[in-house]
């Protein structure tokens, strides 16, 4: 990271630094919530595939169950959007 001495930094440097931090925040919001979704979905997905092996017509329900934790990452995405665009 660029070492910035605030007293000597120009306004542009400070703004650029802020933009960078915002981008990191947005990235963390999406990335971490993505991991959370993945952790939740992995078990449901495995169970859904298991159920499907027994009864193939459960595909629809299994798919829906699997995407339920997707909300977590959607919230992350919304937070990232708010960070980047507001």
């Amino acid at each position: 990271m660029v070492d910035i001495n605030l007293a000597e930094a120009s306004v542009e440097q400070i703004l650029a630094n802020q933009r960078g931090l915002i981008a990191i925040g947005a990235g963390l919001a999406v990335g971490l919530s993505g991991i959370a979704s993945a952790l939740a979905e992995k078990d449901i997905g495995a169970a859904a595939v298991g159920a499907m092996a027994e009864r193939e017509e459960l595909f629809g329900k299994g798919l829906i169950m699997t995407v339920i934790p997707e909300t977590i990452v959607i919230f992350g995405l919304v937070v990232a959007i708010l960070l980047l665009f507001l």
Binding site: G60, K61, I64, V67, T71, L77, V78, L86
Partner: protein, 652 residues
């Protein structure tokens, strides 16, 4: 629409002599759902199948096993066979097919067995062919013991160890498949000592086949025969294929006819009978009732008694009434989505017609791109024309609905494959110049208010709009829930459990509005009172568990922000692809232009696939998880009319 098709319960009673004709009549109607009779009493017992049943089912089993052997798959055909002419020579053709198949089957079995034997011989002979000895030389000695097999260890070491036991022996050593192979001939008295030595080196004995002659020559012969067998099996497969193509129509058509005959013959198993009479308990759709009653009356001249039961008076549980959707043709494809979740029960609202609007709407808001919309429309139209399967056809129609909504929102967002079509960032204006006549037209196109999905100003509007759509959608759910609850548990319960949510939201809305200073500060207090009233009503209706449910109103509403978020992610990918190509690859010229075109095609193909899957799933999820949980119970039984929809045959 919005309700399941009205049905009534009916009873048919008549003399056993008329049973076959009644079954024939009901089967022909193909609109009556028969309720299976299961509880036998002293007086009533389950009917007996017609005499032909067992004979026909045997034929059906034979036919299906043949069909299975030939690998005949169901298909769509316009060429319907005439039932009568098919039945005329059915037995002879079935026998003909049976004997043809059994000849092929026998041939195949013989070849299979021979092939397996040859495989074993080849495996046995391969190591033996390393030594210059005939196969018969390895067996049938009285004074010599033979040890032929694989061994692990050093060649000279083994040799010395064996020589230590006896020098009067014949030891052959060779390499096979990178393993050491020996053939040791010693006199019988040294057997034990030699075996001890060999065991030290992990000796594993070979199997000596019952053959005579030079192993190399035998091996060559077997390899030739193996090739021949393979060729013969191949020609056999061709014969099976030709048999399949010439008999497939016959097999499918006769399967259908036999199924129909079996269905009719076994129908009495579902009826209650006494010694002389039968009772058929069934459900008839109200629009078919008159027709059915008249037909029975005409055919049997009052000798079969037909009576209609009143569902309301009989107090029949909603779950036991079979449900047939009652939707106009354009809403039918959405029934697939309902079935994926659960068929509505008889007394509740069938939301097919609602998701007919909301599903494509949500899909369109999320994808919203003229380019992708046109691609999906093309795919949907092709699918609709080409797909004959009843199961997949509704999905093609659904894709068309979604693509139309995608196109509409694409125009609103002015997007084409992630580029802006018109407005100040118009790709057309950029390509041909803002000042050319055409470019200017696209540049200044402001007839529609354009929402820029990647513009800073419009994103808050979009997020707010999607939350608002969510609120409307959720409250529609609560209202439907109010109606369902009022019917099944009374108005008071409905007010407490469903209307309380709406009151709570009203309170929250008042608080927010006063906080934003749209209404006087007093709204704050009023809002709080209203919200608390809502919570109290909810607790009165649902009990303590209601408190746990409270946060769901917030998470459910926020969940609708995915309408913007998922959309943005798809625009994001398209934008990134375009940026890589136009900003980074094209300016470098030469080979990079070809690479750029490649990236463009691959990137947008991937995004189209994601564009079908992601908005589809999320639009579906908003229905199932957020919307349906507010009112929907499901669990309806399928209305399964007694009859058969012919696919391969016709009656003359």
């Amino acid at each position: 629409m919005l309700k399941a098709k009205k049905v009534s319960r009916a009873l048919l009673v008549g003399h056993n002599n008329l049973l076959d004709q009644v079954v024939e009549t009901l089967h022909g109607l193909n609109s009556v759902h028969i309720e299976d009779f299961t509880e036998e009493t002293d007086f009533l017992s389950i009917g007996k199948p017609a005499v032909v049943a067992s004979e026909v089912s045997n034929k059906l089993i034979k036919l299906r096993s043949l069909s299975n052997f030939l690998g005949i798959k169901p298909k769509y055909t316009d060429n319907l066979l005439d039932e009568e002419s098919l039945l005329d020579d059915f037995d002879s053709r079935l026998d003909e097919l049976d004997s043809a198949v059994s000849v092929l089957l026998d041939k195949r079995n013989v070849l299979d067995i021979e092939g397996k034997n040859i495989e074993t011989y080849i495996k046995d002979l391969q190591p033996l062919s390393m030594f210059p000895l005939n196969v018969e030389m390895y067996r049938d000695y009285s004074s010599i013991s033979v040890h032929a097999g694989y061994i692990q260890g050093d060649r000279t070491e083994i040799e010395t160890e064996v020589k230590k036991v006896t020098t009067s022996c014949d030891l052959n050593i060779a390499m096979h498949n990178k393993a050491l192979l020996i053939a040791l001939f010693v006199s019988v008295e040294h057997t034990d000592a030699v075996v001890e030595v060999l065991d030290k080196y992990n000796f594993s004995e070979l199997h000596i086949p019952e053959l005579t002659g030079d192993p190399g020559k035998l091996l060559a012969g077997f390899n030739n025969r193996k090739k021949d067998i393979q060729a013969e099996l191949e020609s056999l497969t061709n014969e099976i294929t030709s048999l399949q193509s010439s008999y497939s129509d016959f097999v499918l058509a006769s399967d259908e006819i036999l199924s129909i005959v079996t269905q009719k013959a076994e129908a009495p198993l579902r009826f209650a009978t006494t010694d002389n009479t039968f009772i058929i308990d069934c459900w008839v759709p109200d629009d078919q009732m008159e027709n059915t009653e008249k037909l029975i009356e005409e055919r049997f001249n009052h000798s079969v008694y037909f009576t209609k039961l009143d569902i309301e008076k009989e107090d029949i549980k909603a779950e036991t009434i079979p449900v047939e959707y009652d939707n106009p043709g354009s809403v039918k494809p959405l029934e697939t989505i309902m079935n994926l979740y659960s068929r509505p029960n008889y007394k509740e609202i069938d939301p097919s017609a609602i998701i007919f609007i909301t599903f494509p709407l949500f899909y369109g808001i999320m994808l919203g791109d003229i380019g992708y919309g046109l691609v999906l429309l093309t795919l949907g139209l092709i699918g609709k024309a080409k797909i004959k399967s009843e199961g997949l056809k509704p999905l093609a129609t659904l894709l068309i609905y979604c693509s139309i909504s995608t196109l509409i929102f694409g125009i609103l967002f002015a997007e084409i494959f992630g580029f802006h079509l018109f407005g100040h960032h118009s790709i057309v204006a950029e390509l041909i110049g803002e000042h050319s006549a055409m470019g200017e037209m696209f540049y200044n196109f402001h007839a529609l208010p354009i929402l820029e999905r990647l513009g800073k100003e419009d994103i808050p509007i979009l997020l707010l709009a999607s939350a608002l759509i969510g609120t409307l959608h959720l409250n529609l759910g609560f209202l439907l829930g109010f109606r369902n609850e009022a019917i099944s548990h009374g108005v008071v319960k409905a007010v407490l459990t469903k209307l309380s949510w709406i009151i709570l939201q009203l309170g929250i809305a008042l608080i927010i509005l006063s906080a934003l200073e749209y209404i006087p500060v007093i709204g704050n207090t009023i809002g709080a009172v209203v919200a608390v009233l809502g919570v109290v009503m909810l607790i009165a209706g649902e009990g303590g568990a209601g408190i746990l449910e409270l946060p769901s109103i917030l998470s459910n509403t926020l969940s609708y922000t995915r309408l913007t978020a998922v959309g943005l992610s798809s625009v994001g990918i398209a934008f990134a692809v375009n940026e890589i190509v136009t900003g980074m690859l094209f300016p470098q010229g030469g080979l990079f232009i070809i690479l750029g075109i490649l990236v463009l095609i691959v990137g947008h193909t991937v995004n189209t696939v994601l564009g079908v899957v992601a908005p589809g799933l999320h639009a579906l999820r908003l229905q199932y998880v957020e919307f349906f949980t507010k009112f929907y119970e499901g669990g309806g039984r399928k209305f399964n009319p007694f009859g058969y929809t012919r696919k391969y045959t016709e009656e003359k």
